[in-house]
Every structure is written in structure tokens, then in C-alpha cells.
Amino acid sequence: MPLPQIVPIREIYVENRRVRTFVLDTALPEAQPGQFVMLWLPGVDEKPISIAYPSPLTLTVARVGPFSTALHRVREGERVGVRGPFGRGFHLQPDRPALLIGGGYGVAPLYFLAWHAVRQEIPTTVVMGARRANDLIYVDRFQALGVELVIATDDGSAGRQGTAVEAALEIARRDPPPVVYACGPEPMLVAVLHLCQKHGLPGQLSVERYMKCGFGICGQCSLDGMLVCLDGPVFSVEQLASLTEFGRFRRNPTGRRMPV
């Protein structure tokens, strides 16, 4: 993969107290929804971040540790490095309605997918979950796309009370049955997997594992024999169900197995 491309940050949006969106002065017209880039802060670190929109390249990042904290301190006009796009993304099934289920910052890459679905005139429902109303992101953007939007919060402060997957149940039972596309924390993905299996729905789930190279050399992101950076990050329900590590184990930076 070529060296990182250095680009200025054009705009920064504060989504909520932990999440910001960065619009970069570059475009990745070839990128597919579900693919990711390696975002480099020279002198700090480089991390995988999903593409929330490709042109201009838009990334939505939660503040969780040293890298993302440093990124949240970056100002408009300052420069970052990007490599990519990497990985295998979502494949929209054109003949079936789309049910998108997102949690946390996982909602952002689903925006890119929803944009494609709408353009292909696929009936699309987006179900997003958050702890409380203040944590919701991308609500206006999805509304502007004109998709059906269902919101679930743990405390009921917005939308219905409960998890995104509970809220999705009703839509999963519709006829014609939808195809499920999901991105979010792993416990949510496990619940989505069960939902798909129970209702016999095809599903594509975006999975995270610790990444170093991002392009299939270091082996760090392994999930059983799969490489999340190359074979994923989007996997089918059948693939994930056949693995021993999904929902159970991830690997830390040394490669040691840890509980999810």
C-alpha cells in the first residue's frame, strides 16, 4: 500500500461530548461502504477508521484513548495522513429491503451505506441505538436522506426504550424479509447475529479487531483464520457463525487472546 497521503482537515463537527466528525480535503471515489482507512497523526499513532462518507472523505471518531484524544485536539486546517481504502465492505442486495442496525460510532459508516441504498432505490430502515438521547449521532443526516429511522435508547430519553436490536425485531419480521447490515459494539453484533439466525435473514456485520498493518501482512487482526483487515471488516452471518472467536475473544497489541 502506498505511503500515507497528507491532507488538511477541512471541517470538524462536534457530534456529542465524545464523538467528532472530520471532513478531510481529499476524496476516495472508489471506496465502498464498510471499508476503512488508516488515519495517521504523525508523531502519535495510526488507527483504522471506517469511512462515513468518501467524497469528501469523512470520518467520525469517538474519543476513547490517546490517539483519539489527540485527534480531537486537532484544528481545522491542520494536516493528517490517510492510507486506504482497505478491506471488504458491505454488498447491498438490490432486490430486498435493507435493515441497517448501528450502535455507537458504528452508525457513521452505515450512513455511507444508506446513501448508496437510497441511490439504488432500496427501501431502507435505519435502527440506531445509544445509551441516551445526548449520545445519538447522525440523526439529522439520516433524516435528510429520507430513510425510515428508528431510534432506541437504553433510558428511553429518545425513541423507544431498549436496545437497537430489540427495536429492529419488528422490522426483521416484515414481508418481504430484509437483509440486515450492522455495525457497532461486538455484543450488539452478537445479538444481530442471533436475530438473523432466528429469523433466517441474510446479514452482513462489520467487525473490529486490533490492527497494525491494515493490509494483511502482520496477522494482528486475526479472527480464527480470517484477517479482519483483508477478509473483513464486513463478514456474513454464516462466516461469523462458523468462527470460534467472534463474540468471545479479541487480541491485544501483543497478539494475546482476551475476552471480548
Binding site: 500500500m1 502506498p2 505511503l3 500515507p4 497528507i6 488508516m38 495517521w40 504523525p42 508523531g43 502519535v44 499513532d45 495510526e46 488507527k47 494536516r79 495522513g81 492510507r83 497494525k212 498493518c213 493490509f215 494483511g216 501482512i217 502482520c218 496477522g219 494482528q220 486475526s222 479472527l223 480464527d224 483464520g225 480470517m226 484477517l227 472467536e245 487480541r251 497489541p253 501483543t254 497478539g255 494475546r256 487472546r257
Partner: protein
Amino acid sequence: MAVDLSVSLCGIRLPNPTVLASGILGLTHGVLVRVACSGAGAVTTKSVSLAPRDGYPNPVIVEWGGGLINAVGLSNPGVEVMVDEIRAAKEQLAPLGVPVIASIFADTIYDFGTIARYVSEARPDLIEVNISCPNIDDQYLRMFAADPYVSAQVTRRVKANTDIPVLVKLSPNVTDILRIAEAVVEAGADGITAVNSLGPGLILDIETARPVLSHGTGGVSGPALRPIAVRCVYDICRTVDVPVIATGGITTARDAVEMILVGATAVGIGSAVYYRGLEVFREVCQGIQEYMERHGYRRVEDFRGRALEMMGHR
């Protein structure tokens, strides 16, 4: 006429001469098994140390136009975890007949013995001793493989602590690889892996005037390394009489055949996994087979070292 691609390396049978090089994908048994199922004749683990290591921050590996440059920082989960990974890989690879090579490294000559003993509990088919990582931080500490005496001491320590055949992995960053090869063989090495990555090298991001790798410098591998690796293998094979896994810039069957012609028993493949994907193992084997058919060779030994004869060394 049937062509037999299998080779014997220190008494261990490989179904074909291609070997997954250390540090490429081989962190977990799941991926080691996948690589073997993709056609590798043997698989090498990421180099393992006594204690776990996080490695350096990203970027740790980039492609720069002529190859890769890496400074991963020898991240690994430590030998305690790796023993389980090797055991699991061995168990799953036994039916395929694909051997597992455990790569080990340590900071001191003494610890090389300790880790050799520890890793032997998992009964890998071979142990590869990495004395040649070019990313050394301590400016007073030289790479073990730079010194024939130290290389021999490490080899002796490892040999004294295991009954498993031992390969010593040498560095191209020396003026006298011949003498180092002689020293490790005299110290009991059963075979040699040559070579580790070259350098260190340095690649900058010119927009920010910073190195691209977080560590700054890194080891150079891939196509840029190949002619140097071929010369190193040539030097080693005309000097010592142990099997060699030739590694460095091999991406095609042509490159693999070249290494066998200068005397290699097997060929290590690392960076080519980036350039060609995991299909590289099958493609290289297929190409070697076609070469053998074209030349009427039945076994890999039939052409091993032919270039040494041509160049007057045998």
C-alpha cells in the same frame, strides 16, 4: 513423468519447498493453518520472546515502491501463549503433513537457551533462532548476527537446551556472512535461514519531514532485497554443508528456482504475501513444477546447487 516437490530439511519432510517467513501473519494458529491450507510447505511463527511485547505504535509496515519497510518492534504475546498457539497449529497441521517452525529471539545469549527450552515444550518441528532483527534500539547493543563469535555462542546455548533441529537466521547486514555461517554451523546449527530484512532503511514523509514509521528506521524486505539475498545464500551454500531456507524478495517461481540453483533447500516467502496474496504459495509451487518438467528434473535435489557447479564451486 511425475515431479516430486517434497524436500527434506534437517530430516523434516516438507511437502513442497515454500515456507512462510517469520513475522508475516504467523501470530496465531488460525492464520498459520490458513497459510498451510493455501499451499505453504512449512509455516514459521512470528518470533517469540520470553515476555510479551506490544511493539511500536503505528505505522509499523509500509510499502514504498520497491518493497516493504517494517519496524513492528517484535511484538508477540510471549512464549507462554505461543506454546499453546504452536501446539494447536501442530495438531491441526499434522494431517496435512505441514511442519511448524517456531521462531525465537531473546535479548541475551543466556535467555536464548531459556526460550529454546520453553518453546520445545510445544514440540515444533524446527526451531529458528532470530539473531538478525535489524531494529535494535540500544546503540551499544549490536545485532547478534553481526558477530561470528556471539552468533556461535547463541547457537550453542540453543542447541544445549533442545533436541529439536535448529536453524539460525542470519542477517544480510554484514560484510562477512561466510564467516558467520561457518561459526554457527561449527557451533552445531542444523541449518540456516538467510536472510532477515536489510538495513535498517529510512523512508520519510516529505510533507511533514518525518519518518513514516513510528520507530523511524526499519528493515527493508521484498523485491529490493532479492539480489542481495541471492548472493548471501550463494555465499553460504558454497561454504557450509547444511540445508538453507533462502528468504528475501521471492515473489515468483523464477525467484524460488534461482535460490534453489544457488543451493537452497527451501524458500521463505514473506513480503510476497502482500504483492501476490496467499495464492503466492500455490503459484510458486506450480511454477517450480513447470520448470522441473521443462528440464526433466524429478526431484528438487536434481537441480539444487547447479549454479554452484556452473560457477566452479563443486
